[in-house]
Structure formats: C-alpha cells, structure tokens
Symmetry: D2
Subunit: 344 residues, 4 copies
C-alpha cells in the first residue's frame, strides 16, 4: 500500500535530490510539489532549473507546482518532506501541521525545540514519541520531525558507536563540500584555489544537535548528552561529501581494533532507504575520500577511517554525502520511520 507524499520547496537543490531519491521508491508515491509564488502554476520542468546528473523523471516533469500552502496540497497527501529555507519553514510548516499533515523536515528551525524530535533512525528512533508531547503542547493534528544538519549527521553515527567507551569530549574540524550551501551559496571566485574557514551558524549546530541526538529520552523530555563538543567548520573546493576530522576523548582506552569493530558493528535499521551497513570502516588510512566514497550505498552510508589512538582517546575521519545522507536522504529515512512506527 502506497503512501502519498509531497515536497515543500521542490525546486531547490535539496528538493531536486528528494525527487531523485523518490524515483522508483517502493512505497512512496510523489503526489505534490510546492515552491515559491513565482513557480506556482508552472510545470515542474518549467519551474525548476534541474541540475543533478540524472534526467528529471518524466512523470515529475509534467506535474504542476503549487504554492507552499495547505490550500495547494491535496488532502490525501499523507507525508510532506520540507527543504524550505529555515525562515520560510518557520512560518509555513505550522500551517501544514495545523491542518494535520505529517512533516519530515530538513529545515534548521525548531531542531532544538524541546517538543520536536530530532532524529536519525539508526541512532534515536525512540525520540519520535516526542510527537505526543508536541501535539499536546501545540495543538497540532499533524506531526513535525526534524533531521540534523548535514555536518552533524556525518559525525553522530560514529560518536554513537564510541559511546560505549565513555564519550567525554569531541573536537571536530570539517572540510565541507560547496553543495551544502545550496546551488548559489558559494561562488567560484570564492573557492577555486582556496578554502573558507567559517560557515555561519554551522559550528553551534554541530555542538548542540549532536548532544540532543545522543541524549536520553525518558518519555517526557530529552536530556542532552554530557559530552562537550567544539567544532570548527570549513568549506573546501569539493562538490559533494563532507569530510570531518574528529578527536574524541574517551573514559576507557579502547584499541584501534575495538573502535573499528564498534563502528562496523553498530546496528542499522530495516527501512527501504537505509544502508545495509551504517558505518563503512576503512583500514586504508587514505580513505574515506569524498569523491570516491560519498556514493556508498546510494549515498546513505557513513564512512570512517584513519582511526588512531591519542593520549585521551582516539582520532579518526568520517564522511557522508551531505545532500543525500545529510539532507534529502535523512528526511526521507525519517519519513520511512514515521510510516513504520504508525505516525503516518
């Protein structure tokens, strides 16, 4: 039985990824596309400047784009994916939630709100139960679930695997791809033969979202994980795939092999878009590399490598595809979890 889904903000870079990922999805049927006023009423082919390297699916190309408003989305759409700019999302998502839609959102607003589940299905699926509190407090018939920032999601699965060793403190430096800033976010004059040592707001997202994701949920609230996180975020001349260098202080003193095994054996989840193995661990210290490894398991795997002991714990690298695992794929997987858990 199919689930009818829609995309809020369907013409942008993440919106295009949603369309790519929903093509041939086993259970989701794309039934609604929304965008800004200028695009409303046009066919998707006209409205979107399509830039990913597979052609627009024919049936999607001829769909008519609506305004991003409940009036323009059919009532029988069961689940909405949102990749709106966060300022727009903050205004518009509540309209849909009032009307009873379930929204799986990649937008950054409300990620740290106490009654909004911030979820990676393999990491903290139980946080979804915050929806009950959310409905009570906000009076929504619908439900809102958020996925974390792309740079957070790249690191958190590996931290979850380390937590058995007593995760105390994390210093992380990112080497982020330009696609994370959207299609026009980084100009070529800025980045060719260069690197940009600052991404506004990104560091605090990593520092807070990671602690919520690994936090304990007691049925009424999430207690942030006790680890300290300090992040330094950089943009480099790479198209897709965030590479991150992590220094993790641990209470225990695991060997490199123990750490590698904990990552490799970290359990996945049985959902249509989930990777078979969540964390791919490389023994070759020159891997993972963005271009060679970002597409593992259709871009839904997280990669790790270069694990070495330090005086206080371990250092290692991790990598994920920022617009798939870190954005559209993250929302999609949360949508699949919402269906699986009966919220849709």
């Amino acid at each position: 039985m199919n689930v009818r889904v829609g995309i809020l903000g369907a013409t942008g870079a993440v919106g295009q990824r949603f369309i790519q990922l929903l093509d041939d999805h086993p259970t989701f049927e794309l039934a609604a596309l929304t965008a800004s006023e200028e695009s409303a009423g046009k066919s998707y082919r006209e409205a979107a400047k399509w830039r990913v390297n597979t052609p627009i699916p024919d049936d999607v190309a001829s769909m008519t784009v609506g305004r991003t408003h409940p009036d323009d989305v059919a009532d029988d759409v069961d689940l909405l994916f949102s990749s709106l700019p966060s300022s727009v999302a903050a205004e518009v998502e509540p309209l849909f939630l009032d009307e009873g839609y379930v929204v799986s959102s990649n937008s950054s607003n409300d990620r740290m709100a106490e009654d909004v589940p911030l979820t990676i299905p393999e990491i903290n699926p139980g946080h979804l139960d915050l929806i009950e509190i959310q409905r009570e407090e906000r009076g929504w018939d619908g439900a809102l679930v958020k996925n974390p920032n792309c740079s957070t999601i790249t690191m958190v699965p590996t931290l979850a695997a380390l937590d058995e060793f007593g995760l105390e403190r994390v210093n992380v430096t990112t080497l982020q791809a330009v696609s994370g800033a959207g299609y026009s976010g980084v100009t070529s004059m800025e980045i060719i033969d260069n690197a940009l040592p600052h991404i506004g707001g990104e560091e605090s997202k990593m520092e807070t979202e990671s602690r919520k994701l690994l936090g304990a949920f007691d049925g009424s609230e999430v207690t942030l994980h006790g680890m300290e996180v300090a992040a330094s975020c950089n943009r480099i001349p790479t198209l897709d795939g965030h590479l991150e260098s992590v220094f993790a202080d641990l209470a225990d003193e695991p060997s490199v092999d123990e750490v590698a095994r904990a990552m490799r054996e970290f359990p996945g989840i049985d959902l249509p878009s989930a990777p078979e193995q969540l964390i791919h661990v490389f023994d070759d210290p020159s891997r993972p590399q963005p271009r060679l490894d970002r597409d593992r398991e259709n871009g839904m795997a997280v990669c790790a490598g270069g694990i070495q002991e330090t005086t206080h714990g371990v250092k290692y690298n991790c990598l994920a595809h920022n617009t798939i695992r870190g954005a559209a794929g993250a929302s999609l997987l949360n949508g699949e979890l919402l269906v699986e858990e009966g919220w849709v």
Copy 2:
C-alpha cells in the same frame, strides 16, 4: 659585505622558490646551484622545468648546475640552502658539513636529532647554540640547522603566543595545499572534487617538532615542551597556503581579545626576510583564506583568525604560505640568522 650562497637541489619546487626569494636579496649572492647527476653540467635554464609565475632571473638561467657534492661547489661559498629529498639529504648533507660548509636545510632528516637546532628565528633563536655541541659530537667544521615542516611552522608561532596562558594540549587539523607534496606529488585525478585525509608522516612531524621548537634549551640540551599535540593532516585542492584549525587547551582562561592581542604583539625579529609583524590577526571570521592571505608580507607572515573561547581554552584558524614561510623562506630566514649570529 655580501654572503655567497648556494642551493642544494636547486631544480625542484622548493629550489625554484629559493631562487625567486634570493633574487634582489640585499646581502646574499647566489653562487652555486646543484642538482642530480642528469642535470649536472647543464645551464639552469636547461636543467630546471621552471614553473613559478615570475620568469627565471637572467643571471641564474645561465649558471651551470653542478652535482650535489662538495667537489662541485666552490670553496668560497659561505652558506648552503638545502631542499633535497630527505633520503638524499641524509647521505649528502654530512659530506658538506665535513668540508666545513654551513647548511640551512629544509629537508626533514635529522630534525629531531638532539644536537641539531630546529629553528624558527622569531621563536627559538637561542637553539642555534646547539651547533657547538653538534660540532663536538660529530666532528664537523660546518654547521647544520633545520627548519620545521611546513605544517608545523604554520601553527607554532600562534602556539608560542598562547604559551603565556599555560598551553597544555593541542588538537590540530590541517587543510594543506598540494604544493606541499612537490610538483608531482598529488595528481589531478586524486584531488579535483576531492580531499585526501592522510599525509604520510606529516602528523608525527607536527606532534614532535612543535614540542622541540617550544622546548627549553639549557645550554646543553633541549627539553621538549610539555604540551600534548594530536594532529590530523588533510590535503585539499588548493595550490599554496596551509590552513589549520587549532583547538588549544589552556591553564588560564584568557578572553578572545587577550588571545588576539598576544598573537598580534608577539615579537618579530630584525632580519632582511622577516615580516614586520609575525602574526596577522583577523577580526573577520571568514579570514584568513589561503588564496587571499598567503602572500602577506611576501609570504613570510603567519595569519590567524576565528578565535573563539571553548570550555578548555580557545579554538582558532591559522595560515601560512607553505613553500615560502613553510619551506624556502624558512631556510632563508635561518640562514640570515646564522649570519647575524656570526656562524657564517
């Protein structure tokens, strides 16, 4: 009065930078060029595949290249700069030292040897006095001084400035330019749309050399600085300029302003190629950037920016031109110090 200098390994990437930097030098006169057997006997124009973006100085172009052996270097050459591959340097540098030449070397061999000064003139000029011990122990008439690795030299001036606040521990991640690997070190297929999370040997260099540079010298030996350093080294698609992200744990709790001031006011040194201000500190968090800032003070300044407090100290970025401040310029400056201090 001029000093007659020579370059060992004059045709390589760092050798070409030496020639560029020695052009119009106020006191050094280029008098000898050596390279491998195949190049010996040719004019420099024939022997070198010149690739820097200023033309070969005419007088250098017509000089004859000799073998890298004392027999091929005139006796009246006072000072040699070495940018030989470290395996070659390990064999050949002692031949010159036996013959009484003073060698300022960028090659990585012997940097951590107890009787070899590893020197940045603004940081630890006093370590030069190890030369006396070196001469005793090795029976050399000459003198050998080394400069640190390019990634070390980018970070150490800022660490020296932080030392007044009780420097305890450093986690550093590098975003290094391809020129650091030499002209053919990184292929285009490896690095376009990519990053390489591993540079063989680089991490341990940063972890040990930095502690020697900041170590105390009591007249007979250098005691390594007590800080712990863990490094993670990455190559990115940038031509020149290493950008580094530093997390420094400090005993004290200085404000951002105090840290910025300590860096800005860190004293320089009065030598011909030294920058007027050693550390340029940016308030704009989007700086320093490799392409925009690597050429400050002819590539001899170190830049810092993005200073923020963390729970345990500070985080910030630093940058230097890796083949100037981090290689040829580093050796040149050590050469100027050797002259100033009377060793030449």
Copy 3:
C-alpha cells in the same frame, strides 16, 4: 552463449574502466587479466590501485594477474581488450595476433596502418573487412581492430551526421578532461586554476583518424575522407568528459534545425553496450556540459549543442565521456561488433 574475454593492461585507468563495464555484461565473461611483470602473480586486488567510484567486483578482485604474454593467457579466451601504453602494445599485440587471438585495442599504435580497421561501430562497421587483408599481409591467425583516440571519437559521430551536407573543412578546439592523460598524467600543480594549451600528438590524431573513420572502403583499401581538419587540443581542470568546439564548413547551407535533425536521427547500432540514441542534441545553448552530460546512456552517448549557422556552414559543441565512449567503451563496442560479425 558466453564469450571469454581478457584485458591486456588491466591495472591502469582504462583497464579499470574495462572491468567496470564488463561487470554484469550480458555475453562477455572476464577470464584473463594481464599487467606488467611486477603485478604478475598477484591477485587483482593487490596489483591494482583501484580508483573508480564503484568497488572492485569480488570475483575480479581475487583473479590472478598474469604477464602480458600469450603464455599467461588461456587458449580458450576468445577476445582480448588492450589498453596498453602504445609503445608496449606495438611489441606485444603482434605476439597475441600470431597466436590467433582477436584483439580489440585502444592503444594508438597502428591506428593509421592501411590494413588495420579503425572502427566506431555506428560509423564504419564495414571497415572490419580489412581484417581479411590484414591476415593475408601479416600472416596472423588472429585479428586486430583499433578504436580511435578519445578526442576523435567525441567529434566524429557529429561529423558523420553532417556529411550529407557536404563536409569540406573542420576547425576544432578541444577542452579535454585530465583522465585522458591517465591517472598520473596531469599533476594538480599543473592544472588547478589553469589550462594547458598543448597535448602532444593529440592534434595529428584528430586530423588523420577522423578522415580514415569517414573514409570509403572499396573492399581492398580505405580512402581518406576529403575534408580538411585542423585541431587545437587543450587540457582543462575537469575529471571526465571532453568538450569540443567545432566549426564545420559545408557545401550546402542547412538550417540549424536540419543539422539538429541530422544529428538526432543519425542511426545507432544494435549491440549490447551501444546507446539507444547515438547523438543527444540539446536545444539549451548552455549544454552539453561535461559533469552533467558525460554519463548519458552509461557514458556511451555523444552529446551536441549550441548549433549555430556561420557564413561557411555551422558551429556547435560536442561532448563524450573520454574513458568510456572514448576508450574502454569504444573497445568493448568494437568487441561486440567483432562477435556480431562472426570474427570471434
């Protein structure tokens, strides 16, 4: 019924593409891998530095690599693909041909030899009959067929489509990807923020191979096509996909629409790896682009766009994936044609 195939020079960049393309091939079964002496005896996983962005097929990874010599290739291998350096190929290919192997070769030696078919299956399949003359003259039991250079093959299908309008003269400038030079052919220092206006030997290949491909075969010899071709070849910082700018003088004065239609309707061929449509023509003048369009039809299509009339004919752009349609895929398709035509 399966054809047992082998790859000569299996560890290089084109060799790796062969393995990628042969994975899941409907009729070809990979049965032999050869490489240089140093690789011989190792498993393919050990011997090859695998760099394409899909994992090595498991069954190939465990195959043992042999020397590139008939003694190391089983007699029941029916068809060999060669991606050897041309100097090696010139020595080794005849050994295999003497022993009766059929060789479909991407190496540039002997492409212009009068008795060697230089073939693109959609363009000049009939030239295969040169094999009879070849066998007579050389006394080979096997057969040798060559595919053209990657820059030639990008342009020739569009020229073939223009031939009905009286093709008289071609000026072509290429913007070629770095992969065309092999994995280590272009260093990062050479190409970042740069372009290289010279590729040794490439221009004459385009100027001569294109005339042989479009030449008439009368059963005994190929007469070169009468058009004049002048080529200017450049390397740019792109990984895969050669973009070419063509100015074609024509005897007739076709409209843009007539030219576009001639290209779109140019007939393909019914072989397993052939594209459904040989030439994809874009109306959007900003296409084709290397990154967005090189993978059309699994990298086997040729793209064209920007068609405009000039005083003497037309100008337009064309594009193909240089290591698939322009190298490994070209040899593979020739191999499929050899089977189809009964030469294997």
Copy 4:
C-alpha cells in the same frame, strides 16, 4: 602634473582592479569613488567587499563613496573610469558626458555605436578622433571612449600582427576564466569539474568588436575590417586569464617564424601602463598558460604560442589577463592615451 580621476562603480570586481592599478600610478590621482545608493555615504572600506589579494590602500579605504551621479563627483575630477553594469552605464554615462566629463568606459553599451571610439591604444589610437564627431552629434562637452570586451582584447593584438599577411577569416574558441563574469557570476556548483559551453552575448561581441578595432578610420567613420569572425565561447574552472585558440585564414602563406616575428615585433606604445612588449611569443608549445603567464608585464601583456601552419593560414593560442588587460587595465590605458592626446 597630476590628473584627478574617479571610478564609477568602484566596489565591484573591476572597480577593485582599478584601485589596485591606480595605486602608485605616476600621474593619476584617485579623487572620486561612486557606487550604488546603498554604498553611498559609507567609507570605501565599509562599502566594498574587498577580495583582491593585496590590501586596500589606506588612503582609498577611508575615502567616502558617492552615488553614481555627477552631483556626487567633484568638478575638478578630469577623467572617469567606468565599470558599471552595461544597463546602468547606458543610463548614467550620458549624465556625466553632458556635464563635460571625459569617460573611459569598460561597460559594453555603445561599443559599436558609430560615433564612439572603441580603442586599444596600441592598435587603433587614431580612432579617438571620433570624439569630435561624437561631440557634434550628441552635443556632449565630455568625451566617451570604450575598450573592447575581455575576450576580444585577448585576440585582437595577434590579429593586428597577422593583418600584413592578408587576414581573411578567423575561427576562435575561448577558454575563459570565471572572473570575467564578475564576483558572483559563476557559482562553484556550476564550474567545479565542469566547463560551460556558452557565454551569453560574448560570441557576437568578439565577432563585431574585432572588426571595428581593425577597421579603417577616414576621419569621419570607421569601416569594419573585411575579415569574417566566428567565435565559440566557453567558461572553464580558472580564476583569471582567458586562453583562446585561433584558426586564421590568410591570403599569404607566411612561415611559423614569420608569424612569430610579426607578433613579437608588433609595436607597443609609450604610456605609463603599457607593456614594454605588447605580444610575448612562446616557442614552448605548452605555453602560454593562464596561471603562469597572465601576470606578464603586470598583466598588461598579451601572450601567444603554439603557432602552426594550416592549409589556409595558421593556428595558434593567445592569452591575456581578463580583468587587467581585458578590463580595468584596458580602460586605464585608454585614459592615459586620452591624456597624452590632449582630450583630458
């Protein structure tokens, strides 16, 4: 005696180049800066997002930016350089011309107007006399001179040198740097690992401007040169420096040496910013290259190389720095010519 100059559109990419080039100019004194309404009233440091790799000159940084209107520019400013967007320039330049200012403009509007000199000082300085006709027809007290498009100016000096051999026809393909599109003109997502085979309007500029530049002026009008020009313009991932591949049909049959000599000996002009040698010709076929050669003679030289005979004439490459020789430096040189010829 100094000339007081101003810059219209001083905050943009070309405006910043003007400031860089005017720093330490022997006779020009920067006295006025204008920009859009939002910037007016601010200091230049505040108004401009400075991005070139030398610091803002201190005296310029503290200058106040005015609106781009004659009311905001002091009457004693003698000469204005304009790098306004062409639509803005079309409205605003006439206001200044009415008020009697002399304007040397890089903006593309009116370049082909019959009474506007389109000038490269070394090529067609005599066209300046069109100013008399311009004043008559338009009733201006001032004077307007334009320089050609950056891609035109790269090619035209070499064509001027070829004209003695009977220049009949030109096919030219460009490989243009991203800076030609302005700071935000090309996004990183568009150009990394890619090339863009279309630059709107660029081809027709090359095809027409080149014929006006080489046209004959009889004292009343310019007759376009009779050569036919067809251009194909491409953007590649290079920061600065347009590389162009030219096929030129000639009536005569000069040798490569004769062509090289004609280019090398093409006369320059004696103006402060003019290069000593207008065209640098390389014998090494791998040159010129954008990164290595764009800065020759402070970015004001044109480079050529790879000269080869073809059936109809010659093919070769040429290169110039597109934002110096091709934009700000071009206007500056025209300004120097205007002063020299007594128009200022």
